[in-house]
Symmetry: D3
Subunit: 231 residues, 6 copies
């Protein structure tokens, strides 16, 4: 099975030195041993927030902040690569073409961000489409897609499944409202909708969740492609 996984930075490593990185490496190696073809995209997490905060205080503009964040995502990618013991392409691909080439030659590409304005969820979605993935997994800090912010609203209900266009409705409501965090960002969702890919949003705090998601036996939210007629 061809699977692309987007792992949020805080999910991969709540702090530098977390044992989570090693656990993710183990989970990825097991899936690779089981014959799955994998590609990974990781986020920035706490180190990104530190550097971006410092740069903002120094007067950096938003593009420079994004570029700092991208540099940290690639640093995190290198950390995961170091843990993956010769399964991964040795350097984080910086564009989709290079990642695709690694994927086709049986190396696991481990990417960070690519360009300012693009989230790592969007990078993962593009990669999934590019390799024609069977499944795209968003391993996030929330356990799925809810009809309201579960941190704010105790009655928020998790969707078991929704279509990409329904996700887009949910996300665009949240994303345009400053201060809220969508489970998947708007650009990624738009790319997902047009791609017709199958995806799942899961709680990334347990790396074992990857295997469950691939087995279709997870407690997150399935995102099913809209009927393809209108494409």
């Amino acid at each position: 099975m061809k699977v692309i996984v987007s792992i949020g930075g805080s999910v991969l490593a709540p702090e530098v030195g977390s044992e989570r990185v090693g656990a993710y490496a183990d989970a990825i190696e097991s899936l690779s041993d089981a014959g799955h073809e994998l590609g990974i995209v990781v986020g920035g997490g706490p180190t990104a927030r530190e550097y971006i905060g410092a740069a903002r205080d120094l007067g950096a503009d938003e593009m420079e902040l994004d570029n700092l964040g991208i540099a940290v995502t690639r640093l995190n990618a290198r950390l995961l690569i170091a843990a993956l013991d010769n399964r991964a392409a040795p350097t984080p691909p910086t564009d989709h073409e290079t990642a695709l080439e690694a994927f086709r030659h049986d190396d696991i590409p481990v990417m960070g961000g690519t360009v300012a304005g693009h989230t790592t969820d969007a990078v993962a979605t593009g990669l999934a489409e590019y390799v024609d993935a069977d499944l795209l997994v968003y391993a996030t800090s929330v356990p799925g897609v809810f009809d309201a912010d579960p941190n704010e609203d105790p009655e928020a209900t998790k969707y078991d499944s929704l279509s990409a266009s329904e996700l887009l409705d949910v996300v665009s409501g949240i994303d345009l409202d400053a201060g809220s965090n969508a489970p998947v960002d708007l650009l990624a969702t738009k790319l997902l909708e047009r791609s017709g890919l199958a995806a799942v949003v899961i709680d990334g705090s347990d790396p074992e969740g990857l295997a469950s998601a691939i087995d279709g036996d997870h407690s997150g939210t399935d995102i099913v492609p809209d009927s393809t007629e209108h494409r």
Copy 2:
């Protein structure tokens, strides 16, 4: 004045061989002679549509379609560069860093697209922020921002001015509704909102409009930054 201009592909050249390209080159040269520092981003237009249509029929995925489109935008950039007679950087920069470098060394960067999933309007917005532009001009196929689709609704009214967050409200209504064309796409608008840049949406069918936009004497729509308190 530092000015970044996003010129839609159909605006730059309604068909290959159009005299519009030469007229844009003349307009850009005049502004450069007048001491303005310029950066240009051009779109794909009819050639992009032809190649994308052909590739879609051949079974290409959305990433491949985007990459074909990007290749055409760079082809259009080369065409405009050829017309600009040694004012422009000789090759279209393929990322913002290279464009910034050209800009700082008094060459006019003429870019096309950068990565799949990113429109040329978004590229231009990022470049404007990166060079700390005084003005960002979207030269589009509509004469400004309207409260409804002017092609559909005869009562649609053009805004003389609106804030970036108001534009975001207008665009997100349109953009998520398949089949409609927003004057500026959603990603570009989001980048614009966070940047705090001054921008203007003008009818791109007359290259002379660039000078008018810079003089503040245009008939399009001004996009004014939101108050900066909340940034």
Copy 3:
């Protein structure tokens, strides 16, 4: 069998959207399925002519015209790659080293031009030599090599076979005479002569001709290496 194919731009796609591209993709896939190792170089065709004509009107110099042409050849290469469904290297190699690497790792390299002053026939000839090809196929708009221009002279006779140095004599007579089109250009012929490769010139309007050429059962012209003593 290692086979490099040079497909003229007008041969690949008489116009954008032609079904010929898909037919070529099918022919290439069949040959790949049959165990042949393939490399493809495509030309610019009508889109190249349109852009070059437009740029010439805008005052571009010959180097800029060549570079526009090269950009279109790569666009055509992307179109054919999109049709080839994961057999081809995902991006058109821009130099021989990258193409060779793809070839060695079982991806089909699909190139366009490389540098100004070099035709795609010359690129294909260099690639054929670099991969030590068993056969180089020039799929052109004429059905072989003639002793005169078949469009002008009704008595022009097609050669069934001639040596590389004989081809060089034929081509240098034609190529230096402005307005005429040689079946293979002079630089490519010179590279072919020094390489000692076996080649064939066939009518490219029927993609099935590739298989016939490989089987040695074609109606074009065989180019046989000169005896290798003098090399």
Copy 4:
């Protein structure tokens, strides 16, 4: 005056978010305003140590650790660039040629490391030689070169001045003794000796020290070139 400055990572930012970065940016801008031509190389500091420690626990080899460290030095370079407000080349040069090019076109190159096995002190020394610098400043965590480790030996005496070959004697004694920190590492010292450059080792905790070093009015250690006869 052409001046290259090597700023240790812990010196530049004892922790992420330190005000030291802004103070260094101010000092560099003042020197630039005063007409000095500058190039900067920064180290990795605490973030590098965190990532390297985490990777070591995950089983990374020394090359991977070096590469992580280099990635952090470039992150730090981006942070300083963001603070330098359009004086610096927009991205950290990753090799000396690119840095030299920025230097010659009046941008301040701000580099991190280049390749595994090479310290940022060595990078700075190479850059100083490449741009033919008048002065090379090592801004370190010790206030100069001592005849013993000042942290261990209260009677350690600081040299006011010593030749490059004398520095080499001092450093090679320390550097080969695991666990000790030389004020300048062995490779950098060897490059310095062969270069014949004038250098100074100063306490980097006060960014104002750069101006003092350039004025020749510092309290660190001058490294004077050996007589040039033997070169």
Copy 5:
């Protein structure tokens, strides 16, 4: 005056360590001091012949031989750059775009070859066209263009002047005849003819000849553009 100079490898350095390189550097510096804008392309000479001969004995193909030759031309370019004391771009540009960029930013580009199958004379001709040169100088091992091979035929007569198309007639006679050396190779001549540039062929053994050629006071052969009507 914008001047591109093609210096044959044996002309630049009859052997490694020749004083000729320093003399050429002096000549180029004088012309630069006099306000001329210069670009240089150098050939391979004896070191290229040695390596190519060795590789041929080891079974290399023609592409590999060309690539070895190109590597030596770039080595020679580095040698001349080292002698040019900060006038030249620090590394030899490997394509025309990079060379043009250096040229426009007041660095002297010193190139070697670019791709297999392309001579350094052809590279120089392309560069001349790209920078819109006022003069292209071929500094060769023969003192001009003759109506026969001056080494073979004592009655060979030097042309004072001939048109580019006349040169093409002369060269195509010689170039296709194995074993002979044309003063300018066929590809370069074809590029020259289409470019409409003014050129001169001079004896390269005296670097002072560059100044004479620029002054129009040389004893070589002027190549004058064909009338431009037919272009």
Copy 6:
């Protein structure tokens, strides 16, 4: 067995055209046939010395001299690649990441130098660590490590075996003493010590020595890792 070999330039080719290159190619092919995975790094030798001498006379600085030397090492790498008949990656990798990628995809990477200040022995040591080699072979111009310079002291005794830290003691004594040649340079030795790799120093004048070294049946000096406790 994974084996990285560092071949000194004078060892590979005492002069250009030496039969030694072909003999090394044969030895490498035999080892590859026997199932060993190989990576090769070659030095500069006599051509490097000629160019460096010429450049020094022309006033080049040490960085430029190093860069010339690196260019020659890559030229030598191309020569060996040409002899290796499609076993080697077609172009010499210029950094460790590219070399590792070739190594993992069953091409033999043949590298020269990477950056100024880094010897080819150091490059080989880094590559050995990067690919996690079982053995690193230094094929040098001396038959092993001695307790004194064998050319000077007739009583110099060769070590059969010594630890990496003992080698470091030997080398640092020699290397800092101008005019002497260490069997392995100081930077390479330091990288070797930290890597914990097994290595051997052999007389490179007989290419058959590679097989003997791999068999553990050589007459050179074994370098054994220090006990790994202190790492």
